[in-house]
Symmetry: C2
Amino acid sequence: MKNAVGRIIPDVIKGFKTVRPYAGPFAFTPEGRMAGAKIRSQRPGSDKVLESISQAIDAAGLKDGMTISFHHHFRNGDYVLNQVIEAIARKNIKDLTLAPSSLNDINDAILPYIEQGVITAVETSGARGKLGKLLTSGKLSRPAIIRSHGGRARAIECGELHIDVAFIGAPCCDRYGNMNGINGKSACGSLGYAMVDAAYADKVIAITDNLVPYPVRPISIPQTQVDYIVVMDSIGDPAGIASGALRISRNPRELLIAEYAAGVIEHSGYFKDGYSLQLGSGGASLATAKFIREKMIQQNIKASFGVGGITAPFVQMLEEGLIETIFDTQDFDLPSIESLKNNPRHLEMSASYYANPHCGGPIVNNLDVVILSATEVDVDFNVNVITDSNGVIMGASGGHSDTAAGANLAIVVAPLLRGRLPMVIDEVNTIVTPGETVDVIITERGIAVNPRRTDLINNLKGTGLPVMSIHDLQQIAYDLAGKPEPIEVSDEVVAVIEYRDGSVIDVVRKPI
Amino acid sequence: MKNAVGRIIPDVIKGFKTVRPYAGPFAFTPEGRMAGAKIRSQRPGSDKVLESISQAIDAAGLKDGMTISFHHHFRNGDYVLNQVIEAIARKNIKDLTLAPSSLNDINDAILPYIEQGVITAVETSGARGKLGKLLTSGKLSRPAIIRSHGGRARAIECGELHIDVAFIGAPCCDRYGNMNGINGKSACGSLGYAMVDAAYADKVIAITDNLVPYPVRPISIPQTQVDYIVVMDSIGDPAGIASGALRISRNPRELLIAEYAAGVIEHSGYFKDGYSLQLGSGGASLATAKFIREKMIQQNIKASFGVGGITAPFVQMLEEGLIETIFDTQDFDLPSIESLKNNPRHLEMSASYYANPHCGGPIVNNLDVVILSATEVDVDFNVNVITDSNGVIMGASGGHSDTAAGANLAIVVAPLLRGRLPMVIDEVNTIVTPGETVDVIITERGIAVNPRRTDLINNLKGTGLPVMSIHDLQQIAYDLAGKPEPIEVSDEVVAVIEYRDGSVIDVVRKPI
């Protein structure tokens, strides 16, 4: 069958629940009840601290075929996921579904355990490098499920993604399991993704290298949700967890894109006192922060709130009073972690609060402006952020489709060429974010506004910004780099791209 | 059948779920899964603010036979419950179960609506005055269910108490439903009881007199849990919500009891650096704060945390560094509200985190010392805080049985005589807290230690404290006031006293 973005989706995908084709960003109205974790109990005086990961795995009752989860706030400094999988493998437990909030290059270390059948299925936001190749290889027992951050929170909360055991790296934890991510040598800042796992997993194991006197303060994940605690020497490499302050790009192409993006925001009609914004952590996104900050100062405009993935330029704007409140689901650099720790206007939020479409309204619903990246966009404004030009998984869905659906103005920034390939093409190889929710594509060569947004097109007239049709933008790219060859794929579905509401917006087929 | 505290409980109680007799404070191990609210969804740009309570009742789909809830943080200043019930009555909706976290004298205003059948069942922590009399009268269609704060959270989380519509008075609320209790003319401080309702009710209606620009900060209850918002002129009477700073008693009897209590704590074996405590808001409890504070200063002992029901003397100890962290489920006076607002070491907590026995461990599990009150105690150390000497409901279960079960040292303070009646009797009229969980009874005439606690008896030897057997204490009371006449009751069960784990620890029978 063909879904609402024109993709042919198999009626049945082996190993995947009933296929519900994507029908539009808000076409689906959920029914039923939220899931519930197993009811726990703990007597006074009980001791949750176990000797080792091995003991915790036993205590949690982990068995063949179960689903385990992790959070990716430690990014490329994560020691938790790899060590837990290794400990599980030693117990000869097989056929697990691995459902982390995302995967990083450092997790390539688990490849042998996938080959050995310890892990036979993966549900996550995305993967890069060798893990991305593996997900695209068809070696798993069923297709990988790729979800957005909001879609993952939704799937967990409604029970579609049932987590048997959640392993939570805790930079700061007490003996009863209260934890936060802001204190300790492995501080990562917000624990926003892990909050959802902790609230819904049947068993929750905290893994810490910083066991502190009771009680932890502040508390990001409460003792009421934690079953066991394991102390390790180190749960992460600080250098890989957070960099120093992310700096604004000096790349002239990125700066030009950023200047255009700031111009589009300025004239969009949304740039008013009290507006709200999310910026990404990519070069052009960060650079946009610089330009929009200047415009805010000049025009005396303050943002009511900022959302993210938080970086130093955002924190600077918070401290300067240009942003009133920050909502933080993940921190990318040390200034952001420090800000979360010290600034009461910098609030931690869960992935569900951030982006879950099936709740009383996530904060993305209240966003005016979001700046997003893209691997490819097509003439229908559909965006791919998950597969590369060879059809191999090399990115992550993240909050892309969530914020695009929620924000009044979803801007995609990307260079018109990636290496030698055009970024604007006829049909993206994989749709992660439907064009209906994408408003503007900004490249260094020109700006295309979604024809649905006649209001925006009008607002940008006479601004001097190089607005053109998406087809003209594509033509420039094709003139420079030629039309790309289509990727040849087999019929085998290796990954399902879920839209945030759980419908299937696309599938990844195995490249030939 | 006879339960583990020797009470005869009917095998079947009409209108009450299957009777599970109380079998010991930790005898019951829960199974199954936590409940889930109906899955919500909200599109970007949706407007949750309705014109009136009437509109919100319609929007929430309230129907005959449903269960509605309220929180009691506004205490005797609450305008919300009464106005909502009045609005419901005008719609001719009948046969509702009223399940507020507690009831106050001001809620006597709803008596006509109970008489009219708008409300035909009540599940709450307790009631006083006319409402207490009504609950004891047998006029409801089924027995009232009395739960502790932890037991209520448990019942909601496991689905035994299913809330169809929760009405939440919000001293500070934004247009998407983020709220807190610390800002605004009707500030009440912590929203700890309401947090549980918001997380599990199918529909949540915020009622505010202080709609502020988006987003509220900090957020006690998130927009993700809120369906509708109604703005009223006033949701409460500040004078009834919170008093000025609660002051230490000058009543010599209370001061003597408090001095004994501080002495018992001092010599109990738990009075060490890092210990933890909960004090009540009654006269003798508050006075204990004064004496224990002095001992902490003298002996250079600091508490790791304090729990409550928070009052000014506790806040003073927080500010002086004598208490490191406060966990707050309810505020009794203005200094406590101010402290929650301004002191990052003063944390808000939900009733579930406070006391729910069926979670990964509530904070009462970590308590060393709690000071509790009593209407009556008996020679088995069982405590009644719910019915008076006529067998009429006039109190509330509150956190009594929760903290007694959790704390290492549960101290009950009470005058030996109440009016002309002895406080220590053969059998309390109604058991709320089982004697097995009560360690010490302190009166102005003497101190009785539970014989189970041989360690405490030893520790208190040679301290000069007037320790005696509970029977000796009773004899003093009987010598002064005579043995009280038993209350004559019919067979009709008018209220069920649930222990915190959902078992039946006692019933209230209709007095003749």
